[in-house]
Symmetry: C2
Subunit: 193 residues, 2 copies
DNA sequence: TCTCTATTATAGTGATCGGTCTACATATTA
DNA sequence: TAATATGTAGACCGATCACTATAATAGAGA
């Protein structure tokens, strides 16, 4: 089988990074190849359908990483309010680090592809839903009714996604911080404990 | 002066629409020219610095339209909760209409340009801040303390922006509706009346 | 009518885009 | 060793990108 060949992995990693940061259309195949120092011949060997197929794999990887980061941040606290605030704090750190979108949000890719590629839109959609579920589950664990938890999960996911977009644009994470504060307000009314 | 020449206006309008819908990098100059049936030679006459300069004007127009639409929706109700919920309802309608981003959000342009163009990033930033202020003002009018109003304005703006992104991606405005519901929850604690 | 300026037309620039192709190297298996 | 997958090399393709150069056109003022 494929032994010492990590070209595929390297291409997906580089593509994931670049697509998230600067977007799908702003990222050329050549740039991906260069950053991953993989040969061009290999691209169409592993991804015969080209850029879109590579992007699908890249979105998959990004989604997995984002999910696991959020799960890790959530698990630090049992209380859902503290836990979600911790997630947001970690995102603030990631954004402050160098002001780039890396493993925090698929919003850019999602908005770039919702019209032009059903395949990629669907991948982003699934990722969004997965994140909602992660938040909802944390809320359910603390005794919030499933229906309320699901609704709150959606809202929390929207707040965070929007705050990331705005914080990146402003080069200032105040909006993320403000959202973190309000997390407490929207969850408290549903807490049974 | 010159005879009624609306070529400039037509180009900005078409550019604004296309950039918002499909993004900056996905929209070619030729497409803009075609859709605006403006004379091909006129683009670099009115926008000597090219695409970026046109985009700046397009963002300005989009921002103005979005602001005035939000102001109009807000003014229907005196109560800030009802007013903001009305804004969101109107956005749901706009998105349901044909599933495209048109005069509702600059998130796509913002995320596409935050790294590559300081000029366009700045234009998006200003637009975001303006929207926060609009919401904050509505809250202040109903007696909420300025500091709280400003914070809530930021959060509301983030919630809406995020919910738009997610709703567009899912082709389903449930998230926007869920956010509208929670608007009441986050504003109530600050209401003095 | 003639001139001047504002606007438009069009051909063409080099660069880069995503994608294709064939030749070749290497590794595994028979 | 021979045969066969598996993967790499990179030149090449037409199309399109943003952009430029220069000439033609038209209207306004004299």
């Amino acid at each position: 089988m494929n032994i010492r060949t990590d070209s595929r992995e390297k291409m997906i990693k580089a593509a994931s990074r670049l697509f998230q940061m600067q977007g799908y259309h702003a990222t050329g195949l050549n740039e991906i190849l260069k950053k991953s120092d993989a040969p061009k011949g290999s691209l169409y060997y592993y991804f015969p359908k080209g850029k879109e197929e590579l992007a699908l794999a890249a979105i998959g990887l990004a989604s997995d990483i984002i999910q696991s980061k959020i799960r890790a941040s959530l698990s630090v606290y049992a209380d859902p309010i503290l836990a979600i605030q911790n997630v947001i704090r970690d995102m603030e750190k990631a954004i402050k680090k160098d002001g780039k979108l890396e493993n925090v949000s698929l919003s850019l890719l999602s908005l770039e592809t919702y019209l032009s590629s059903e395949t990629l839109r669907e991948a982003c959609r699934k990722s969004f839903i997965e994140l909602e579920k992660i938040y909802a589950e944390k809320l359910r664990e603390s005794g919030i009714f499933p229906q309320s938890a699901q609704n709150l999960g959606m809202v929390i996911q929207a707040m965070i996604e929007g705050a990331i977009t705005i914080s990146i644009t402003k080069k200032d994470t105040t909006t993320l911080a403000a959202v973190a504060e309000q997390i407490a307000v929207i969850i408290k009314p549903y807490k049974t404990t």
